[in-house]
């Protein structure tokens, strides 16, 4: 079952004590898990004129807890004032189980605002267990956000390749006011579903090298922590310079630009073509196994839709909600668009038109 924990500043927490404390957690959660999630709850200090949205830290991390590996989604956001009148933040963590992993990907779950609390009302209390709805990242092609922010959607492929090769993780510097979670979700759409839960990320800086660190941090260029780092460090990536100086090439970059389906061999080929530009310091430790089978977006979509249909009552409830209905309609529209129905329709129209014209012409001559 999925578990969740809320950590914020209260006059009295669930375990006693005041200040930053556990405000709510799923009943029966082991103490070790509660302590581990509490330690992930900090929100880095932002630059002086950052907006509330820019201060939000969304992260997917894999942490060790009592010999178990936990997949943790975190949404940490400023949350008004606490009981002492000082600035507060609310950290909402969800530990994701295998079923949710099968139906969803982490970026899409984090993009769904309805899943994440921004304010805690009332006293500290235990929460009931909840099932996560199925959410998958939209497979936009081209990757519009990457194209708009960096001028070429193909950079998503180059960054993805570097990230998967990096043993320690990287910080990708993004321009001010970029939608970092959207960038992440679009990049994740280039990965097959089963690999998306290996792709840890954060939308604010997280120190590299600890248990709680991630493969990629999308770091706003105004972040104070960025200024404190050596700009020449190999793990700080800037599009258009250093290891990302060359224009992205290869099938994966092409897919990011045009939406062409890449095969496993094309992903590997992309890696080989760009390997000369990869910094050896970054890529020393981890070997990224290119996906053996990268299914077409439409195929993955139908697989997930099938899984949703098979989930019985829970699926019925989800379908009943209006937001899910909208998503369902969008999926059907995307499915029909990607399946080429429109092309067939136009081709048929032309053929029929030609036949009618020929029939009329032959009739007139007769």
């Amino acid at each position: 079952m999925n578990s969740e924990l809320i950590h914020t500043s209260l006059a009295r927490g669930l375990d006693g004590g005041s200040g930053y404390t556990v405000a709510g957690r799923t009943g029966g959660m082991p103490r070790a898990m509660s302590d581990t999630l509490s330690r992930l709850s900090g929100l880095p200090n932002a630059w002086s004129d950052a907006t509330i949205e820019e201060k939000i830290l969304c992260a997917f991390r894999q942490v060790e807890c009592a010999g178990q590996r936990l997949a943790v989604l975190s949404h940490i956001a400023p949350s008004g004032m606490d009981y002492t009148g000082r600035t507060n933040r609310l950290s909402h963590h969800r530990v994701v189980d295998a079923r949710a992993m099968h139906d969803s990907d982490p970026a899409a779950l984090l993009e769904d605002d309805s899943l994440w609390l921004r304010e805690w009302i009332g006293a500290a209390r235990e929460l009931g267990g909840v099932e996560l709805p199925a959410r998958l990242a939209r497979e936009d092609a081209p990757l519009h956000t990457w194209e708009r922010v960096f001028g070429d959607a193909g950079w998503a492929a180059s960054v993805l390749e570097l990230v998967m090769k990096s043993g320690i993780g990287v910080w990708l510097v993004v321009p001010a006011r970029s939608k970092k979670l959207r960038l992440c979700a679009e990049m994740m759409a280039l990965l097959p579903l089963e690999q998306r839960w290996q792709f840890t990320f954060a939308t604010r800086p997280i120190a590299l090298g600890s248990d709680a660190s991630v493969k990629i941090c999308f770091v706003d260029e105004r972040e104070p922590e960025l200024a404190a780092q050596n700009e020449k460090s190999a793990w700080i990536l800037r599009v258009g310079s250093g290891t990302l100086a060359g224009k992205p090439t290869g099938p994966l970059a092409q897919r990011a630009r045009l939406g062409h389906v890449a095969t496993a061999s094309s992903v590997a080929q992309h890696a080989v073509e760009n390997s000369s530009r990869v910094n050896t310091k970054v890529g020393d430790d981890l070997v990224w196994n290119a996906p053996q089978k990268l299914a077409a977006p439409s195929e993955r979509l139908s697989r997930v839709t099938g899984a949703i249909n098979a989930t019985g009552d829970a699926a019925e409830e989800r379908r009943a909600s209006s937001s899910d209905a909208v998503i369902e309609v969008r999926r059907v529209a995307e499915k029909s668009a990607s399946s080429g129905v429109w092309k067939w329709f136009i081709a048929t129209f032309i053929v029929v038109g030609v036949l009618v014209w020929l029939a009329m012409r032959s009739g007139a001559s007769a």
Partner: protein, 408 residues
């Protein structure tokens, strides 16, 4: 710490940090050479590999811990007291400068917020201190394969007597200190021949949550500095105690009630534990109880903070300090007897000092939704007695005052 840009990654400090190594090669000037031959100037702790100033090897260091419950005003006090000691060296008879400015970045941030725009009328406030995740406050290192989150200290070089005029009765030089006591007969003359004119002061400021009972975790040993502390500044917030509020006729506006005696007891339990001291041992760690937010209660307590306890020629006026201590004890004894019991059980050397980190200028920021946040206008900030508590804890003063019957 290696300087060559190719030597990145350390098994303890982290993959993004420069390599730490035990030097075996040195240049003619005595500086270590890293494996790539670059000249190294920075040093790090052999255990946690966190960078510290080289001056820590060269000068004596004094550790001072700032302790208190959540929301008691530790961060405001720290920013105000260090800002005061940076500016008022003549009056205080001592001054502090950053030993390595980049290591005190977090304090600079707070000082800039409060004192960086003295002409501004835009209300400001300090953010609540995070318990984890802020790179300016904490560093996570991997020791023996296990992650440990450690607090980053604030390190200053202390120059004693930097502003005093040589020849006056309260004068100091590089090799000695004179302190004037309660009356002329109490004047002490202490020859501190072993103490040089400069020393280091290492301050630790934690989130209040770290001092709550049960918060001392092996994965987050953020309060272990207590075992090394030469003095402990315990920030007691009278506005968080309902009986103190009543005794000083403060308005009841839904204030918070926190058992601060438990925080103090927990603190000294950790001191005993980490120093391996017997439960019956009398700890002689000087305990300075700082009664914060005095602007809110000083009128009700009938104390006057408008005159700072400094001598005309610089240095602390011990008579004024003693008088203030005597004025506040009966109030605490009657309003918070359990706290005073905990104080007596904690240490045999106690001094009570009031302070207001911001002065009588608290305003509220309108438009923050249903909740209104306390804020201050930088143009109105006027700390009162903010640096006094730290001055009493500084190395020379602690030793000198030990004989001056100030500590009771």
């Amino acid at each position: 710490m290696a300087e060559d840009s190719r030597l990145v990654g350390d098994p303890v400090a982290g993959p993004a940090q420069q390599l730490r190594f035990l030097p075996t090669r040195f240049d003619m000037g005595g500086a270590a050479l890293d494996p790539e031959g670059a000249r190294c100037t920075r040093v790090a702790c052999p255990r946690c590999r966190i960078e510290f100033p080289r001056a820590m090897i060269e000068l004596p260091s004094t550790f001072i811990s700032v302790v208190g419950a959540p929301g008691c005003g530790k961060s405001h006090l720290l920013a105000a007291m260090t800002w005061g000691l940076r500016r008022e060296r003549a009056r205080a008879g001592a001054c502090m400068v950053d030993t390595e400015p980049k290591l005190n970045a977090r304090l600079h941030r707070d000082e800039n917020i409060l004192f960086g725009a003295p002409d501004s009328n835009e209300p400001v406030r300090l953010a609540k201190t995070e318990i984890a995740g802020d790179a300016l406050l904490y560093r996570t290192v991997r020791i023996k394969g296990k992650d440990e989150t450690l607090p980053l200290p604030l390190i200053f070089t202390l120059h004693v007597g930097a502003g005093a005029n040589v020849g006056h009765s309260r004068s100091t030089d590089a090799m000695g200190v004179k302190v004037r006591g309660e009356n002329l007969d109490d004047t002490l003359e202490t020859d501190q021949s072993t103490i040089p004119g400069a020393s280091l002061v290492v301050l630790y400021d934690n989130a209040g949550e770290h001092f709550l009972p049960g918060a001392d975790e092996s994965a987050q040993p953020v309060t272990r500095h207590l075992s090394q502390s030469r003095a402990i500044l315990f920030v007691f917030d009278p506005t968080q105690d309902p009986r103190f509020r009543a005794a000083t006729r403060m308005p009841e506006s839904g204030g918070v009630n926190i058992r601060q005696d438990l925080v103090l007891t927990e603190t000294f339990a950790r001191v005993r534990h980490h120093r391996s001291r017997h439960a019956a041992d009398n700890l002689d760690v000087p305990l300075i109880v700082v009664l914060s937010k005095a602007d809110a209660w000083s009128a009700g307590a009938k104390i006057d903070l408008s005159v700072e306890p400094y001598l005309p020629n610089g240095g602390l006026d011990l008579a004024a300090l003693k008088k203030m201590d005597r004025a506040l004890r009966p109030l605490l004894e009657s309003a918070c007897p359990e706290f005073m019991t905990a104080v007596r059980a904690a240490s045999s050397r106690v001094l009570i000092v009031p302070c207001s980190a911001l002065g009588p200028c608290a305003t509220s920021i309108a438009g923050a939704g249903a909740l209104q946040a306390a804020g201050v206008r930088p143009s109105e900030i006027c700390p009162q007695w903010a640096s006094v508590a730290l001055l009493t804890a500084l190395p020379l003063e602690v030793d000198a005052l030990a004989n001056a019957s100030l500590w009771t």
